[in-house]
Amino acid sequence: MSTPPLEPAVVELAGITHRYGPTVALSDCRLSIAPGEVHGLVGENGSGKSTVVKLLSGIMRPTEGEVRVGGKAVDLRSPAAAQRHEIVTVFQETLVSDECSGLDNVFAGTDGIFRRARSGRAEREAAERVVASLGASPAILQSSPHHLSLAERQVLTLTRALVRPWKLLILDEATSALDLSTRDRLFAVLADHRREGRSVLFVSHRMDELEILIDRATVQRSGRTVGTVGKDEATPARLLSMMSGRSDAGEHHVRAGARSRQAADVVLRGVDLSLVAQAPAFDLDVRRGEILGIGGLDGQGGSHLVEVLAGVRPTASGRVEVDRDGSWTRVTGYRQAFRSGIAYVPGKRQEEGLFPSMTVGDNLSMATLPRHARAGLFRSSSVLTRVREEMTRLGVVPHDPSYPITGLSGGNAQKVLVGRWLAAEPDVLILNDPLRGVDLGTKRDFYALLRELTEAGTTVVMLSTEIEELLTCCDRVAVCQAERVFDVLEGEDLTYDAVLAAMFGRHVSDEQSSDEQSSDHDTHRKVTL
């Protein structure tokens, strides 16, 4: 099952066991990363991937077992120690400080307590080079990052890793927050580094990325290492069956039956809507019981649109209206939208979604507590029953409402966030990239769940950065470009190429007339190493 590495490993984990209190997150974990390889690390949510990452980055020390760097056992007792061994990491959460400039975020931690390692100028030049290679604007280094998008924040954390000296770069689902073009640039940058003999540990749930990028992959299942396979063996079907332990796991790419809805039955609409000042106005209808996908490159208005629809963000001009028993009610704010049956699941899970000091159960029941109240007092037994049901429905692991939310793996935390709003049984559910970092098995269950909901009359609006996901799960897809809805695709017209073209502000029919442009297309789909 495993192919032996050609050269001595850069970094190796041998016989690692790791416990969080009573939870065994890793047992007998083995991993060996060769020089100059991109090594994939895959597994379902909670299978221990981030734990491996934390051990290699010096965030935690293993309960048992050995970490070896260049063949020698080392003690990575802090992130600084890991960096001294030239291991750099981009974590699953985007860890940036909002009070420091982008540049300070990039270089903090490279200095001593007082001594600066580089001059301000050297810092700026080094960071600008990396930012430019990722295709982002150097402006993100100057200002403080509050108003940067998730993708731009992620560029900062990538830059933070890449400006340091490194032989192993760890990317823990670092691509899930990136837009397509930045991701492709990153892959090209990684290809260069790889040729220079540097290695990458790549954690991702996205089979398409794994296929493009990796040389070998190690599969984790419930904290155990299932095995390591070479590039030829690492097909999506094979990896999925190793991850789940079932043999049929690969066959999920069935397009859920998209149904066309009565165009007349509109439940939520934007009229003369303009997302930001001076942006062009447009109309958008959301039909009752449909799953409307929102696509588009990052920063092109997709997340502005969902926020406006949910009342979280004011419109620049125009209005959003929701159908309340036959009459149109204007959406004026978040609470009012919620009372009108619109629930919104935000995208930045850490900052906008979860209550870090509370349990999983509290986090899940947050939005629905009033329903379980009698005379202002909560009936905890009825809350608990409901919470358990919801956790089963979403497959949250561990199945324990009293578990601290901070002890959940990234994907499981995301499930809790989505589950909270599902529990509110809204008429319209608006989701801002809900499945970022969720494994494929759960995604499939989640699509089915959305289907079920729509069958019961709920309407779903879902922003996704993955075209595949939009195609798999949506009835119609509205693609945003330059702060407006550029095109709404449905039925026959809803194809990968059409969505991609619309993201760049073109119609696919224009594209087919020109060969040159359609090959331009392909470079966006596949970057080969």
Partner: protein, 324 residues
């Protein structure tokens, strides 16, 4: 990467204008009010006001590093530390004829540093929440001061009157304050400043980036202690002696001053200058109310109201700044 968005004026202002400007504007207003109430203020009265304000100003500055270091950073013991320093000077050094300037200054700084080191150890190594740890040391230092000096004394060496002199163009205490500010300014030129802000605003990000969070916070408590030592020295001079009960009264005012000065009590935003401005503002308000013959109850209430207004305004300002 993202489309350009026209930002509303207020938001732009909130982003561009430094954090301490609102407090500075308020100070200007208070100066005008005070000048209109007292004729001698502009012609030299302000110097005396500054001398009396100086212990508070220094203690507010002392409070700043720990507040900036985040993680609920706070030092309730700054007041008692300053009190302890003045008791050490007046009841330990002077009676033994150890009143040479350099020795007194060194002992003051070391006493402050020792107090800071105790707090630093409790907070960063023993990991007791700052508010509890420094409440404990508040009680211990205050108790220690009363133990050493039962009743106030008032005998000081000649040279200490330098601190309270207003004969020069500027009052001498201003040089002390500027000196502390200068040392801090030099410190902000080093990597420590970035480390401190990073730790204060997002300690997880700082830690994973490789910043030694424990060392950075330890040092913040130590610096606070040293500055409280300087404040103790000045306090002794201003009081013209030592009184074990005076120091502790400064703690809450110093914290209020820091909030007034625009520092984020959550950490990571602000600086020593803002803390000093906040202290001056607080003192001017107090001074004005005294001039207008307000009662001490009214004074107390005014403090409370001012503090609430400052914190609410601070929060609103911050929301504007961070709005996308």
């Amino acid at each position: 990467m993202s489309a350009t968005v026209a930002t509303p004026l207020l938001q732009t202002v909130a982003r561009k204008v430094p954090y301490f400007v609102p407090a500075l504007v308020a100070v200007a207003v208070m100066l005008l009010l005070t000048a209109s109430e007292s004729e001698t203020f502009l012609s030299g009265g302000w110097k005396l006001v500054l001398v009396y304000a100086s212990p508070l100003v220094l203690l507010a500055m002392a409070q700043a590093p720990v507040v900036l270091s985040g993680g609920g950073g706070l030092d309730l013991s700054v007041g008692p530390t300053a009190g302890l320093v003045s008791v050490v000077i007046a009841a330990v050094l002077i009676p033994r004829d150890l009143s040479v300037a350099w020795l007194v200054i060194v002992v003051a700084l070391l006493t402050g540093a020792a107090a800071g080191a105790v707090n630093a150890t409790l907070v960063t190594l023993v990991r007791i929440p700052p508010i509890i740890a420094t409440l404990a040391t508040y009680l211990v230092f205050a108790g220690l001061a009363t133990q050493v000096l039962g009743a106030p004394t008032g005998f000081l060496p000649e040279w200490m009157s330098w601190f309270t002199s207003v004969d020069g163009v500027l009052p001498n205490v201003l040089y002390v304050i500027l000196g502390v500010g200068l040392v801090w300014l030099l410190l902000t030129r080093t990597a420590y400043w970035r480390n401190l802000l990073m730790v204060g605003s997002n300690d997880r990000a700082a830690y994973t980036a490789g910043v030694n969070v424990t060392a950075v916070r330890f040092l913040a408590y130590l610096l606070t202690g040293v500055m409280a030592g300087v404040a103790g020295l000045v306090l002794t001079a201003v009081l013209g002696g030592a009184d074990a009960t005076v120091g502790p009264t400064y703690t809450l005012q110093a914290i209020a001053a820091v909030a007034l000065g625009g520092l984020s009590l959550a950490g990571g935003r602000g600086g020593l200058f803002g803390a000093a401005v906040g202290a001056v503002l607080l003192f001017l308000i107090q001074n004005y109310l005294t001039l207008t013959e307000a009662s001490s109850f009214e004074l107390q209430m005014a403090y409370g109201v001012v503090l609430i207004v400052a914190i609410v305004a601070n929060g609103a300002w911050d929301r504007k700044r961070k709005a996308r």
